[in-house]
């Protein structure tokens, strides 16, 4: 495809890599919303250009560095990227887990990130395990003025909730969706009482059905090595990928009639409604089900 015409997707900030992946003075070729782009570091400053058909540099677009990532836009965003004050807290480690390519819609990826009821089946023995499969009631809402989805009071029994966890615990989660392709979760820290660990996904949609997913952790953990932390996150994410690449249709259906939902899907249904109200079409299911099934 060529660059999307979906203004909801265009007028937003997207992360396209952590700063360590982009060597100063070297161009990095990647793709965003159907458009080939070039990202480069110019001293301490990030820059982004559309790539022409011949590979040359075309129109320049805004770029900025935030939370260790390069954020860019092909449009004119009405608001900045999400606010995460936890990045300034002492004692936290920022662990960038790199980018993983997933052949799925960005919206299916975010929806899966919000979902707890798959833990016993997809992350068996780590984030959940039969017979403790119940999703108890939780709260979900759109918070203004930032227009963000928050799900709170989310509790789930987990055999091994984090790399640093020693045995099972009931983890409490909060989930936050700050823009259609960006989500962060806050999870009971197994080490520091009363603190939250953060895990986030910045989804870079290359095309409607292909994304690079940038995952990070911002955790209190003095004992695990960087490798341990990345391995833990990658194991979880590879399990998710095996699901995400096998959902059909590829695009996320926004109509509540298209796929069956239960109470545990409250945040997912709110996410779909929120996307519908924004008028987002990129990565949604629009077609005829018969051709999609083929």
């Amino acid at each position: 495809m060529t660059k999307t015409t979906d203004n909801v997707a265009l007028n937003d900030w997207q992360a396209v890599g952590d700063v360590d992946e982009i060597t100063s003075g070297k161009r990095r070729n990647t793709r965003l919303l159907g458009q080939d782009i070039i990202v480069e570091m110019d001293g301490e400053r990030a820059r982004m250009f559309e790539a022409n058909a011949d590979g040359g540099m075309g129109a320049e677009h805004p770029a900025q560095i935030l939370y260790g990532y390069v954020w860019v836009t092909l449009g004119t965003p009405a608001k900045p990227p999400l606010d995460m004050p936890e990045f300034k807290e002492d004692g936290r480690r920022l662990v960038s887990c790199g980018a993983v390519t997933v052949r799925a819609s960005a919206l299916r990826i975010v929806e899966n990130f919000l979902d707890m009821s798959h833990f016993p089946y997809v992350h068996t023995g780590i984030l959940g395990e039969e017979p403790v499969t119940e999703v108890t009631d939780y709260r979900f809402e759109v918070r203004q003025p930032d227009d963000e989805i928050w799900a709170t009071d989310c509790n789930f029994f987990q055999p091994q909730a984090a790399a640093s966890a020693d045995g099972g615990q009931v983890s409490e989660y909060m989930y936050r969706v700050s823009s259609p392709f960006v989500s962060v979760l806050y999870k009971t820290c197994p080490v520091v009482e009363g603190a939250w660990d953060l895990v986030g996904i910045f989804v870079q949609p290359r095309d409607e059905g292909v994304c690079d997913v940038h995952t990070f952790m911002l955790v209190f953990d003095d004992t695990s090595t960087y490798t341990d932390l990345v391995h833990f996150q990658h194991e979880i994410f590879m399990q998710d990928r095996s699901i995400l690449e096998n959902q059909r249709p590829t695009g996320l259906p926004l109509s509540p009639k298209r796929e069956s939902a239960i109470k545990a899907d409250g945040s997912s249904m709110l996410y779909r409604r929120w996307l519908r109200q924004k008028g987002l079409t990129f990565g949604t299911y629009q077609g005829d089900e018969e051709t999609e099934a083929a």
């Binding site: 009821s117 016993p120 999703v135 699901i243 059909r248 545990a264 018969e290 099934a293 083929a294």
Partner: protein, 250 residues
């Protein structure tokens, strides 16, 4: 819904594999006329063909697992009873799933050692092969050609009979039903080829031998026609490539 309105052959029964290739508790993907289905066998031995998509979040059911007489989706563990109705949702263990939580199914039948299905609504049972006293399922081969090319190759197919007294010098073929070709050697030994149009570019051939043999010879019979199947695939793919290249240069 996947009604396949405009698809040629949608109301035809097609074989999708050997009954012996699907054990109790097995779940396998099916490709038929470019459409995806899933076939699974419950622990009671009955086979089921369903749409390959969970009604909840669209996950392919081919990756699910069989739990007694139910199929479970890999994503959230929803259990579906043999009639397709959702029977249990682990996230809400006390909830009775509503009646409309149901995976659509396709017709499924087992006859002559094969599992048969149809995308649409076929009239009557699968093709009648009762003229043969014994049919042994030997193997399935996947061929990277459209079914029209495989049908043409099947009509011309030769084979060396397994049983003594059958010379194989004179071969005749007939086409008693859509998707079925019978090749007969001089002396009467027959090979039944059940042809499954998987997609526009891929075809599966399920090979049955009508040779009358003792039980102890069945492994050798399978090897004989398994080797034949590999050759048939090679000849069909290469023959089709050659004729396509010729028609391009002509």
């Amino acid at each position: 819904m996947e009604n396949g309105k405009s698809i040629t052959g949608k109301d035809t029964w097609y074989a999708i594999g050997g009954s012996s290739s699907l054990g109790a508790g097995d779940v396998q993907p099916v490709h038929l006329l470019g459409i995806e289905r899933v076939v699974w066998r419950d622990n009671g031995g009955e086979s089921h063909v369903w749409h390959n998509r969970c009604i909840h979040r669209g996950m392919r059911l081919q990756y699910g697992f069989v739990d007694g007489d139910r199929l479970a989706c890999r994503y959230h563990g929803w259990r579906f009873a043999s009639d397709g109705k959702c029977a249990y949702i682990p996230a809400h263990p006390d909830m009775t799933p509503p009646d409309d939580f149901c995976v659509p199914s396709s017709p499924a039948a087992e006859a002559t050692g094969l599992i048969w299905t149809s995308i649409g609504t076929p009239d009557g049972p699968p093709p009648d092969l009762s003229e043969f006293d014994a049919l042994t399922f030997c193997r399935s081969v996947a061929i990277n050609c459209p079914s029209s090319e495989v049908e043409a190759a099947a009509a011309q197919a030769q084979f060396v009979p397994f049983t003594a007294g059958n010379t194989g010098n004179a071969i005749s073929s007939r086409h008693p039903a859509p998707g079925v070709t019978i090749v007969e050697a001089d002396g009467g030994e027959a090979l039944v080829l059940a042809i499954q149009p998987a997609s526009a570019t891929k075809t599966h051939v399920h090979i049955l031998s009508a040779a009358s043999v003792a039980d102890t010879d069945i492994p050798a019979l399978r090897r004989h026609f398994s080797a034949w199947g590999r050759q048939f695939r090679w000849k069909t793919e290469n023959g089709a490539r050659t004729s396509r290249a010729e028609s391009e240069t002509a």
